[in-house]
Symmetry: D2
């Protein structure tokens, strides 16, 4: 076990917490805006079932963009490598996550990777099922299995609120539809996507999910291979090259942990073979990552040599 | 009167018609695809009420992008210069008419001009009225007045067909909504816009409408000022700087007539103080302009010194 | 003659001059920075040889971007329409005059028009002659003929100063060389281009040059056709579609006079068939046009109906 | 030792070699064009001093873009993390390696990362020394130390040839100079950069250099720390996120080895803690990577589980 004591982790959280003052809680929908600027929580889960934590562990938050990695895993299992990557690319991009410009200049039109919104919408489009409800439940079931927690669900209020304001994602969908990348009704896809983003977890759940990715798809407790190892690896690779919006490169340099962030302030970190990490700090920097969460992971990585490079 | 005889005009049409073979009829909706590749018609209308014509004059076609100029005139009358140009720019662009990339790179977001789709959607959004039907009838009435023909209406089949395939325009609308440039329901705006594009006229009607613009807004027969002179001038200016998609500059150099084209193969030309011209030639060049229509106008401009520069 | 008295013109200048306070003199080279923020001068030259003026008429200034139009005329005479427009386009652009991005995204690479820097460099590259000195003298001779003034030359200090700071133009040249649009030594071309931009005139000279363009290439005093009518027209067309940087569209709407501005604060206006106008007002707006000069031309256009649309 | 026998490696090379037929040797300069389309060589170097190889091991080739990683390491040692990353970013990009467009749209101007040409030129600009000769020798010395071979130098013919055709890199330099990112004479910087790219090695040397990166900067034979561990890690991180031009993401997914390619057909791979790999296969795919080299590394990674994710 790498962390001898909770006290050390608490000290790191206290240090990183001083950065929350420079961040800003996302407020484009009211439900997100209710988060506390000063919160910072972390859970670390080890393969032997032990775990440590610090900070406001009781807080629940929505996955938001973190869901992109998990949906990608599910869809790769259902559809296969070839099918998925014919429709979405593998290349990182220097553009913002919600950019539409690159879609236009590339020929043929294909979102650069599954972590930008355009790519994530294509991936969500591939979730199997006959109805939105069937498809979201399929994803929720997968997440419950990863987190080993049967009560996980999505927050209707957040989903509805995001559905109402998702103009940019609708623009992306219609553009993708024009180019025959997706063919379903846009409102239906936005319904599914906003529900996916609104799945609620806490830091502990997030660390548990991350651990499965860290262990190449194996459930550390049951020993069951929840997802194939190569799919877990693909996901970790995307987390390194494009997991932290357009600060992914800097995060890889400074911290070197495969990680995915969300606008709710969550960060999921999967240290290969070692541990799963769940962070929650809703104060964001200008690129949309948890400002204190980034600092906390950097401190931990330096101290415990978690940098994989 | 500049054209002494129909025979001369027929000869020009015959010469220009040889170019139709290199063009391509728009076929993104079935209704447009039914047009005859080889058609080429022209009507020229003079202030004294005389007119000449040649070619397949009986053919009706939809206004498509030509409607952008007329809607702009209507909206300028209703809303005023300041209101309109706070929401849409006045600058030509080297990008294609349906480009979304520039919307993203400009800050604040504002369509460059009312002739590209993004700008035209903003202008259509400003048509006054409580319902789509009320608003489209308001535009139809204005066009009937300009054409002095009470039977003008829109083609339901074309409108419906374009409504179903207008993914890219929906993408533009949602993008504009995200940036608070428009605030109405997107499906409603697309409904109105596709009906506007589906208004049906023939070459003679188009020449009559053009003549009002050419005469600075005055109806040549009744002497009534249908629109203020400065609005007619603004429209002619946009026709010069951005009327022929991203071939506007070349057309201004080679022909020098304020003109607006549509994907149905129509071209409306307004020679200041002289005459109105309506052209129909559905075979398009790769930029979306009537390939034989362009040639015909170039021939006429050279022969009769219609170039305004 | 459209202007009855100098007094009226003086009043217009006084009104427009109040706008200089919101402008900024170009200071990227010391020689330009020495201009007086508050200066505003205008000369209007008529075909009958009469002229009127107001403001600081004695001030000399360099042509800067105004030279682009004159060089284009010279090169069109030497090389012909086909040759020139195979190498530079005719389309206006919504991008800044010094943009390089569009060069990269267009295939094949071809500057959009001769008024942006990339296009102007290609045009200057086409000036005939064996040495830079021979080529610049060829252009100077042409300008002396247009202005009917044998003492016109270029300012060595300005040319040298611009040569030293022309990093962006060098970047454009090397990019064009990579794509085989130009093939001469870049330093040599920059030498020629900066000398071209440094040609010195005053408002009166500028109005005289503009008059030749206004009169379709005919010298109003001698009656000699200095340049072919179609070349004069092409130049006026570019002045309308791209003469005022990326404020060309707005200027065409509000003023409607073919005009070309320079960063020294000069504006050359050619009212077709009517008069030539030379303006000097070194305080620039944020797009690089003379802020008071724009206002002055707008006032004159409204009052005397100079708008050509 | 991971590879039991040369025979197995030979078989992999034979399999990968079948892909050379679909590639194309770079021919923008004659010296590169002389390479044999069908060549494919590999050397793998282990920390215990053992090594294996297969293919045309005797062939020498120039580092080209592979030099970007080594120069970055040198400059980080000389200038420090802060200094370097104030001038060049850390983010991967979906654009081609020689793109200039992104430089213009980003504010402030800063190359996205040190692996694209714009960024690499900024890094080379930071090599210390009073003359080009002094600076290139400083880099050569560092490379000799990494490769443990005192005869390494640069190929004058390749350097001169690239110097003559480096128009695009000159464009990038002048653009960077305009924005004050670099301040030295452009021709001097291009001289230094083309010499850097022309440094000659063989597969064995490349594997030896890669091994030092793999071992966090420690020379495997002498045990000396040639570069600090964190600098070696930073370099490996860039190799993952942007080492293979705009196919970096796909390579990370499929192979998962930190690697850097060059247009000569070389690939340097540094498997953390395990081994250094040098590949040479001059037939390139359309993105500029060795087509058979990519395949070979993918086969090896799958067989021996070298994927670090």
């Amino acid at each position: 076990m790498i962390f001898q004591a909770n006290d050390e982790l608490k000290a790191f959280v206290a240090e990183a917490k001083t950065y929350t003052i420079n961040g800003k809680v996302a407020d484009y929908i009211p439900a997100l805006g209710k988060a506390s600027q000063n919160d910072l929580a972390i859970a670390i889960y080890y393969p032997d079932g032990q775990w440590i934590s610090a900070g406001e562990m009781e807080k629940e938050f929505t996955l938001q963009s973190i869901s992109k990695v998990i949906t990608l895993a599910l869809v790769l299992m259902d559809r296969g490598f070839e099918y998925v990557f014919e429709r979405v690319g593998m290349e990182p991009t220097g553009d913002p996550f919600n950019s539409i410009a690159k879609l236009e200049t590339m020929a043929p039109t294909k979102p650069l990777n599954p972590m930008i919104n355009a790519g994530a919408l294509v991936v969500t489009h591939m979730i199997m099922g006959n109805t939105v409800e069937e498809r979201i439940q399929r994803l929720v079931s997968f997440i419950r299995q990863l987190a080993n927690k049967s009560t996980i669900g999505y927050c209707e209020e957040v989903a509805r609120s995001e559905f109402e304001s998702a103009h940019l994602n609708r623009a992306l969908c219609h553009f993708l539809k024009q180019h025959n990348i997706i063919d379903e009704d846009v409102e239906q896809l936005i319904d599914l996507y906003t529900k996916q983003c609104a799945i609620e977890i806490n830091c502990f759940d997030l660390a548990r999910i991350a651990l499965v990715f860290a262990m190449d798809g194996v459930d550390p407790e049951s020993g069951i291979q929840i997802m194939p190892a190569d799919i877990a690896r693909i996901c970790k690779t995307f987390m390194v090259t494009c997991g932290m919006y357009n600060a992914s490169g800097e995060f890889a340099i400074k911290t070197g942990i495969p990680a995915k962030s969300g606008v709710s302030g969550g960060i999921m970190g999967a240290v290969p073979g070692l541990c799963g990490i769940g962070v929650f700090g809703p104060a964001l920097d200008e690129k949309g990552n948890s400002i204190a969460g980034l600092k906390l992971l950097e401190l931990l990585s330096k101290k415990y040599e978690l940098n994989m490079f």
